[in-house]
């Protein structure tokens, strides 16, 4: 019995030249199919033909995908237009404050950023709780994205507030209740991000971070009510809960324009950072699969 030393050559020697109606792959099947073996079983093992159809993008996008892309574009455009409107509202539309003067206009960027930071940390707490309940990675990505954006917004709140404090109080920093609790909030969520970075994308790291995210939210109401509970230098709330607004109408409108604009920007950033987290998880899974293949 002759044993073929080079199976590939033996197969080539046997293979018939392709003729109309006879697929080259069908001929290859005949070479390797053993008696009684279903061709489909062998066919499943063959690598796909070397054409570009496998890698070609889909010819048509699903409607959902198309609308999602348009929605993202609209969100980004809305954020950009909102930024311009905010500048107009803060510098042109809003009147000059009698006591503080022009430096009061910092308020129109400082306050919306602070509110959105609160929103971000609220979403971190909710997403963390949902992650602990459902153990779905997507909630972890959502919490991480919100924590990152919230930390950035809190940083900008501290900086703009400090600049306003220097202009109005003559000091960059005072150990006021509101400022101190905001600084604590900043440390909590920067610590959350450092913890995520240290533990990597593991289930245990996600669980620990979720607990931190939930507990860290405790500081948010403390921060909000600090101007009411303690004697502080920081101005009291301009829109106190359950009370009349403490602002004239034009200032309130300018504040609302700024709030809507920053909310659109927040939404746009959240979408981008969430996608980033999703893709980073995909990379980790691909690496794990490559290690398995090796």
């Amino acid at each position: 019995m002759q044993i073929a030393t080079k199976p590939a050559d033996a197969a080539d020697a046997k293979r018939q030249p392709a003729s109309p109606g006879v697929d080259k792959q069908a001929v290859a099947l005949a070479d390797i199919a053993s008696p009684g073996q279903a061709p489909a079983a062998v066919e499943a093992e063959l690598p796909p033909p070397p054409d570009d159809a496998r890698d070609a993008p889909p010819t048509t996008l699903s409607p959902w995908r198309r609308y999602a892309d348009y929605g993202e574009l609209a969100l980004g455009a809305g954020a950009f237009v909102g930024v311009l409107l905010t500048l107009w509202a803060a510098f042109v539309y809003a009147p000059r404050e009698l006591v503080e003067g022009d430096v009061q206009r910092i308020f129109y960027i400082h306050v919306p950023m602070a509110w959105l930071a609160y929103l971000a940390f609220f979403l971190v707490a909710v997403a963390s709780a949902l992650y602990l309940w459902r153990r779905d990675e997507r909630w972890d990505w959502f919490a991480r994205a919100n924590a990152e954006i919230g930390a950035v917004f809190t940083t900008l709140v501290l900086i703009t507030g400090s600049i306003w404090g220097k202009a109005f109080w003559g000091a960059w920093w005072v150990w006021d209740a509101r400022l101190t609790t905001t600084l604590i909030l900043w440390f909590v969520y920067v610590g959350y991000l450092v913890l995520r970075s240290y533990t990597g994308r593991t289930a245990q790291g996600a669980r620990v971070a979720a607990v931190v995210g939930i507990l860290g939210f405790v500081d948010v109401p403390i921060n909000y009510f600090a101007v009411t509970w303690w004697r502080t230098l920081h101005p009291s709330a301009v829109l106190p809960l359950g009370s009349e607004p403490q602002l004239p109408a034009s200032m309130l409108i300018a504040l609302m324009v700024a709030l809507v604009s920053f909310t659109l920007l927040f939404g746009f950033l959240l979408l981008q950072v969430y996608r980033l987290e999703r893709t980073q998880s995909l990379v980790e899974q691909l690496r794990a699969e490559i290690d398995e293949e090796d």
Binding site: W164, V283, A288
Partner: protein, 106 residues
């Protein structure tokens, strides 16, 4: 216009723009890394499949030496195997607590 006011707005917008730019760079980097890893994984799987098929061909040829030659089956179109793993949209997040990675569509 008050210098502190200008400084505050400048810090804010520069800071936000810098953050948006940083996020965009990270997104681009991770996307290209994912593409590269996907191609590498497909290549490894192709090689493993070809090696498996070649080995099986060698074994079946030895077994078929004594058996009568089967007639070629004409006209059966060679089907394409399913789309490669990790095709766009096929990534599914995992539920933490499972030791195996998420099953992929092949």
């Amino acid at each position: 216009m008050n210098g502190y006011l200008i400084a505050a707005y400048a810090v804010l917008w520069v800071g936000l723009l810098a953050y948006v730019g940083w996020v965009a760079l990270r997104v681009r980097g991770v996307k290209s890394e994912a593409e590269t890893l996907r191609d590498l994984l497909d290549d490894l799987r192709d090689r493993a499949t070809r090696a498996r098929v070649a080995k099986r061909a060698q074994v079946t040829k030895l077994a078929a030496q004594a058996a009568p030659q089967p007639t070629p089956q004409a006209g059966k179109a060679g089907g394409q195997s399913a789309q490669g793993a990790n095709a766009p949209g096929s990534f599914k997040p995992t539920k933490h607590g499972n030791s195996k990675p998420a099953a992929r569509r092949k």
